[in-house]
């Protein structure tokens, strides 16, 4: 009988949980610098992924994993306003960028909200899921020629093959976004606070000599509900092009930045 994969569940405060939460946080589907546009709009968001040092890449003090694969995380965004709601979606098709292949789906709905003391406050819910594939656990570049221990590890535990590891973000988030309109409507500054339920997984994809996943390695799953905060602004003076930037802070995980450029069907 085939060996079943073990799912190892980790809370946020464990080293594995911290590493999982870091990467899922970088993929949270926040406004990304722009608040709701008019009619249809398409845009591209670029998110910064800070590199981890060696200690931060050591879950449970095992060897440092080769996780620093992508310094930037690009994400197309498609939005539409109707019936007082602003619905936004994103799909990253499976393309190889840097050393990873991402296939990610995200979506959000922003509600009508209410005005208060010069601010407009809207509820927003979002989700993100999919798969990012890369060589993390068994990377020849990080092991071969890096000392006898790592070479032996690569030859034995890794079966002499590069791994096919999968990171799978699985998040649902909710937040309140407070928007202040300035400069005759050209500038929209916002702050946001919310939380996300995070069940993201890392599937350790050590490949056997036959090229199939070695079932002796577990799937790691995060079990956490974490807060997050956003601070951003969108600049949309005239015409159809708008730009925006956002600081995203997930306490205990990452402070990162996002920038977005968007084209709207209606000025």
């Amino acid at each position: 009988m085939a060996q079943e994969r073990v799912i190892e569940r980790h809370v946020f405060d464990e080293p594995e949980g911290r590493l999982l939460a870091f990467y899922s946080a970088t993929m949270a589907f926040t406004p990304g610098g722009l608040t709701a546009g008019n009619g249809w709009s398409v845009g591209i968001e670029m998110s910064y992924v800070p590199f981890l040092n060696e200690a931060q890449r050591r879950p449970s003090l095992d060897k440092p994993e080769a996780t620093n694969l992508v310094p930037f995380f690009p994400r197309p965004r498609l939005g539409v306003r109707f019936a007082g709601l602003y619905v936004e979606g994103s799909w990253i098709p499976p393309m190889r960028v840097f050393d990873v292949e991402a296939n990610l789906l995200s979506g959000s709905i922003s509600g009508v909200g209410w005005a208060m003391a010069g601010w407009h406050i809207s509820p927003r819910v979002w989700g993100a899921t999919g798969r990012v594939r890369g060589t993390i656990t068994c990377a020849a570049s990080a092991m071969v020629g890096k000392g006898a221990d790592l070479e032996t590890y690569y030859a034995t535990v890794c079966h002499g093959r590069e791994s096919d590891d999968w990171f799978e973000p699985r998040m649902l988030g909710a937040e309140a976004i407070a928007v202040r309109v300035l400069a005759d409507g050209a500038l929209r500054a916002y702050v946001g606070a919310g939380a996300r339920v995070d069940r993201s997984r890392f599937d350790i994809g050590v490949l056997t000599g036959e090229g199939v996943r070695d079932p002796d390695h577990p799937i790691l799953e995060l079990r956490a509900t974490r807060p997050h905060f956003t601070l951003g602004a969108g600049w949309h003076p005239r015409g159809r092009i708008a730009t925006g930037a956002e600081l995203f802070y997930a306490p205990g995980s990452v402070l990162t930045a996002r920038a977005t450029v968007r084209w709207s069907a209606r000025p």
Binding site: P50, F51, A55, L61, D149, Y153, T156
Partner: protein, 147 residues
């Protein structure tokens, strides 16, 4: 200022502010006791180290059995006592009462020469702490009983 310039400035400012908000784990004992046990017992003091550090997926689990060695709780004792090494001919994993000539003790040590070119164990992760190593040596030297 043009909108694109503002956007570029915001982006540069934001990128400069990005950082990781946690420290790496610093627990060389891997959550295990980090004290020398003078009179160690196998199940109380040695087996927890073996299970946590050796009998893991990809290494000395039932499925992977690297070096044909399974170190899970049910079979670890029989697998090491007076058993030959499958890697280096003539070596015995645990010689009761003789830690200095037990291959298991040599493998977890920093002595590259005595390891005969074999990688230190546990492989690819942090070494056992000096206290954990001393506990295992003490157990071997007291006759490696199954207690």
């Amino acid at each position: 200022m043009r909108p694109n310039a503002i956007g570029a400035l915001l982006t540069v400012w934001s990128m400069a502010a990005g950082c990781v908000d946690y420290e790496g784990a610093v627990d060389p004992a891997h959550g295990l006791p980090d004290v020398v046990v003078a009179m160690p017992q196998f199940r109380r003091d040695v087996l927890p180290i073996v299970e946590r550090r050796c009998a893991i997926g990809g290494c000395h689990s039932v499925a992977s059995r690297q070096a044909q060695l399974v170190l899970v709780a049910d079979s670890a004792f029989e697998a090491i006592i007076d058993q030959p090494s499958r890697i280096v001919v003539g070596e015995v994993l645990v010689r009761p009462g003789d830690a200095a000539n037990s291959w298991l003790a040599i493998l977890i040590s920093d002595d590259v020469v005595r390891r005969k070119g074999v990688a230190r164990m546990p492989l690819g992760s942090g070494a056992l702490t000096p206290n954990q190593v001393a506990t295992i040596l003490n157990w071997i030297n007291r006759g490696a009983p199954d207690d």
